[in-house]
């Protein structure tokens, strides 16, 4: 039987997805255990989520939360750093430590035949890290070096300056990694005090894989300390400070310009969440989105351009990100601004774009829940933002009901070029040419040290 190549096969819509059932226990006040039992492979994913991240830093201690998080795997009360890592390796352990604005997360993926040991090590790292003076000094030094290396990483620098420009002194505007001054200053006592506060922060333990809820609960309970847990205050409401809307960081001899354009947008709990997800999908969230098609597929000036809304406890940023051929920097920035305005006005979303964005999101949704770690991290989103249990099950319906009027409303409210701010890290002569004429005012110069020195 030969193929009819006159038209593309029309896919059948996939079945709706059901997020796996989560079994929940309250282990202590402020400490929950959520599990998802999956017996298909002999592995377990353990995730420890504290409801506090870099926003828990004070204005004069940027980087303390991240330094503390980085020290969790530098030995426990029972094990030296090298003994701890021997033990982790011996259970097939893959450890990740992530810190974001609102959360600190430890993840251990382990072979399920070693699940007892895995739980023990996880709880020990979370609750009883060693925090010895020599380890603190060493890790501080390593982090200082990493921070100094950021100076030469155009993309990372653009991200840091962009967040600082958008948020100013708000906790989201601080460099999570810290500054040279703050990192140099931190003492062992400060780290220990910060950890003492962290360990008394509400937490959710999530375990997904080849283990029953009852066994997981017994294992976690066996190793828990019992601090009283009280929440950190939420970060304040975020607004952008006034000031120059276009920052330029010179990077001599740079092969490209790193470009960031955006603004402070909305928190995770925004009622417009699904409309914004759909809007971003067609604007810059996928390969076929308007901004990538313009800059990559039409003009060839970048390997890829994308946009995103970052949804946080308080209003997170909307941003467009691209690494651009130097001599087209001004033109590309103007193209981005034109695309943003067009969606609100002269080129509103078409029926085809809307269908494509909604279908792309809903029909591909199942892929996001394939691995134990994906399921654990999805559950962590529910825990962190205190979202309803049926959030994922209802996602497709909510997305499907987003209308073109909703998209236009998002564009008019949140995506006007007049509200955008931009950061360019690039080669001073080629990248700067014409940059003052794109409509964001005269570019104001910044240096890496403006955010990194402190």
């Amino acid at each position: 039987m030969t193929v009819d190549r006159r038209s593309l096969p029309v896919p059948e819509p996939p079945p709706g997805i059901q997020f796996p059932a989560v079994t929940r226990s309250q282990l202590q006040p402020g400490l929950r255990l959520w599990t998802v039992e999956r017996r298909d492979l002999p592995l377990v994913c353990l995730l420890w989520l504290w409801h506090a991240g870099t926003s828990a830093d004070q204005a004069d201690t940027p980087g303390l939360a991240a330094l503390t998080a980085d020290l969790l795997d530098e030995g426990t009360s029972a094990l030296s750093m090298s003994a701890l890592h021997d033990a982790l390796a011996g259970i097939g352990g893959q450890l990740d430590t992530d810190i974001g604005h609102d959360a600190t997360v430890l993840t251990v993926l382990a072979l399920s035949r070693h699940r007892e040991r895995a739980v023990e090590l996880l709880v020990d790292m979370a609750e009883r890290p060693r925090l010895a003076p020599s380890d603190v000094a060493r890790v501080k030094g390593l982090r200082l070096n990493r921070l100094r290396q950021l100076r030469h990483s155009a993309g990372a620098l653009a991200d840091l300056l962009f967040m600082r420009r958008l948020y100013g002194e708000h906790p989201y505007g601080r460099p999570g990694i810290g500054t040279e001054a703050s990192l140099t200053r931190f003492t062992v006592e400060q780290v220990q005090a910060f950890h003492a506060r962290l360990v008394a922060t509400p937490a959710t333990v999530i375990i997904v894989g080849d283990i029953s809820h009852d066994e997981a609960e017994a294992l976690v309970r066996r190793h828990l300390s019992t601090p009283e847990r009280t929440p950190h205050p939420s970060p304040p409401v975020a607004t952008s400070p006034t000031g120059s809307r276009l920052l330029f960081v010179p990077r001599e001899g740079a092969a490209q310009s790193e470009l960031r354009v955006g603004r402070v947008a909305v928190p995770r709990h925004s009622p417009a969440y699904h409309a914004m997800v759909v809007t971003n999908m067609l604007l810059g969230g996928a390969f076929v989105s308007r901004i990538n098609m313009k800059l990559r597929e039409e003009k060839g000036v970048t390997y890829g351009a994308r946009s995103s809304f970052q949804f946080l406890e308080q209003a997170g940023p909307f941003s467009v990100q691209a690494s651009i051929q130097s001599e087209t920097t001004a033109e590309s920035l103007r193209d981005v601004l034109v695309e943003l305005d067009a969606l609100a006005d002269v080129r509103p979303v078409t029926a085809d774009e809307l269908d494509s964005a909604r279908d792309g999101l809903t029909r591909g949704y199942a892929r996001g829940f394939e691995t134990a770690e994906q399921v654990a991290r999805a559950a962590a989103q529910l825990a962190l933002f205190d979202l309803p249990d049926d959030t994922f099950d209802r996602f497709s319906d909510r997305v499907s009901s987003v209308t073109s009027a909703d998209v236009t409303e998002v564009a008019r409210t949140w995506l006007r070029s007049a509200d955008m701010q931009a950061v360019v890290v690039g080669e001073p002569s080629a990248s700067l040419t014409g940059l003052g004429g794109v409509g964001l005012g005269v570019p104001e110069h910044r240096l890496a040290d403006d955010v990194l020195k402190g």
Binding site: M1, L8, P14, H85, N145, Q149, G300, G364, E370
Partner: protein
Amino acid sequence: MRIPFTRRTLSNGLDVIVHEDHGLPIVAVNLWYHVGSKNERRGRTGFAHLFEHLMFEGSAHHDHGYFAPLQRAGASLNGSTSADRTNYWEVVPSGALDLALWLESDRMGHLLPALTQAKFDNQRDVVLNERRQNYENRPYGMAGLAVAEALYDHDHPYSWPTIGSPDDIKAASLDDVQAFFRAYYHPRNASLVLAGDIDEAHAFDLAERYFGDLAPGPDVPPVQAAVPRLAGNVRLRLEDRVELPRLYLAWHSPGLFADDDAELDLLADVIGGGKTARLYQALVVEQQLATEVTAVQYSRELTGMFQMVATAAPGVSLDRLALAIELGLAETREQPVTAAELTRSQVQAEAHFIYRLQTVGGFSGKSDQLNAYNVYRGDPGYVGEDLARYGRASADRLQQAAARWLSRPHVALGVVPMGQTAIGLSDAEAAVVA
């Protein structure tokens, strides 16, 4: 350890491999073409990768972007090019499998009528920007290119990077593309895996329906290259916009699945894998000469490379760092690793194999693994034997492998901050990067 599968070869030579996994209502389509940058020649580099880009720009019966209909159907998709192969994959909801196969088969059989100079010029610019973003504008981004250039003879196919040289990319023509397509993009040089929520018989029917009538294509002779050797140690210097100097040490090593490959992989883990590794403990924790250190046995089809990378702590010269690493390496050549070290690395290897079974599609998912084993070993079921190699390794064999391979001449490249050659390797020549 096994990934159950059935393989059949269509009459036009296309290998089709099916693996059922009904965990989620998705199917992975994974297609390998046995062509990569090693099929290029000096002066014409970057071609296999540039070609991969053109595969997403439309084909005869769908002369529009490849992404649009698939993303709309809920697919994720991508492709990649290495020295040895080019792969393309889609992960689709089960109901969109026909669509993915229609599109994959159309670009395998009917790409050229849709290929225009305008598309070609656009993607050539995109690739040049990819090179700027991922190599030229990235700290230490050119180091890997300089190491390969020095480690292999000028005409060895692993001496040039898959991304290619800018001059070669600019000089490529539409005629080159057409010739390349005819030589390499056809059923006889390809392997297709369908994995996921699909019935085996139906999967083979679909493969036959969409790919069965495509012309087989010419023979693709295997790439021949002499076993690479270095006459003596090479010491190189590269200045870059970086904060700290970094040392790269590279040796020739066995190729993929060859004798000593698994042993050197385990050895790399013992000395450079994570915070428990010997060199991390010695250089980063105890002596504090380095801020990070890694080791990897990078095995490819023709031959392998054992590489160590260490970033110096502030104020530490690369000569001093190199000496400390050499002391650590000498130990592995002269004494067996401990039983505890070996067991730990073997468990890590086993865990790595198990964790890779979690996804049906994408890079390194089950479908990609089945294709890798089929293309490189002619046996999609090789995963069990692949892992068994690690189980058979012994401390003695690790020591022998270290003694055999890591006492030969090597390349040492020091990357230093602009203008600070004094803290780099002494007696080093400027590295050549195309």
